[in-house]
Symmetry: C2
Subunit: 144 residues, 2 copies
């Protein structure tokens, strides 16, 4: 597999992965404002979704869809945000972000200026769901 | 089909659509900084990708993928950004944004604070590609 030196997604630590197989990984991002922020990262250093062969593209879509389901089941967000940007790290990856009316940016995207601080107790309550989220994600991929 | 009064995507004007069928539409967004900014909007007022039956989810993915291909062929962006957010309008839609190193926000997402003004002549050159982009998108969906 082609590895690009200096690409942080080519060099993703195995310990950070909730799910890992020969094609992609699922990780939970440690973001203080967004407990449950997850990423699906393609293993190979591929730039765009349309650079993937059809079967692989469908595999990515399926992975994103499974993680979205796990996020909804456990975190019960008001909305899920999905994005594949890659302007800074042009190695295919998807952001999945559970959004709430009281989160730091709602209703703006998380990349806009922050609108508020979320009650720390509320954030703590969401963080407490992470072990359950990790298990839910693992279950979604257990039948592959 | 369920229509939600006041939802701008339930009430999308037919004239704005580059592609329209019984399931979804493709539109080109009139954004001064981002010629080629496109959206795939689901016709039905559905909130999340994971609310769709499998066949419809794959139809959305296929539509996004086709529009991405057309964007790359005609606009030749440095990167394509894909996002389904829906915090403001919780009616399923995908943003497809061709990104360039000299665009207003690069490498930040387009929802961050602007970093610069793009040379008006460069933006004009990109806008001049829109008729060709429209045709390329139409061709991608011509065989359905």
């Amino acid at each position: 597999m082609t590895k690009v030196v200096g690409c942080e997604l080519c060099e993703l630590a195995p310990s950070s992965k909730v799910v890992a197989n020969d094609k992609f990984a699922v990780i939970l991002v440690d973001d203080a404002n967004y407990p449950g922020f997850a990423r699906v990262t393609w293993n190979e250093h591929v730039r765009e979704m349309s650079d993937l062969p059809d079967a692989d593209r469908l595999l990515v879509n399926d992975a994103v869809w499974k993680v979205e389901q796990a996020l909804r089941e456990v975190m019960q967000p008001l909305k899920v945000n999905l994005a594949s940007l890659g302007n800074v790290v042009p190695h295919l990856h998807w952001h999945l972000i559970p959004r709430f009316a009281d989160d730091a940016h709602f209703p703006a995207p998380v990349w806009a200026s922050a609108a508020r601080e979320t009650d720390p107790a509320v954030l703590e309550g969401r963080r407490a769901l992470l072990p359950q989220l990790k298990q839910a994600i693992e279950r979604k991929f257990a039948n592959r």
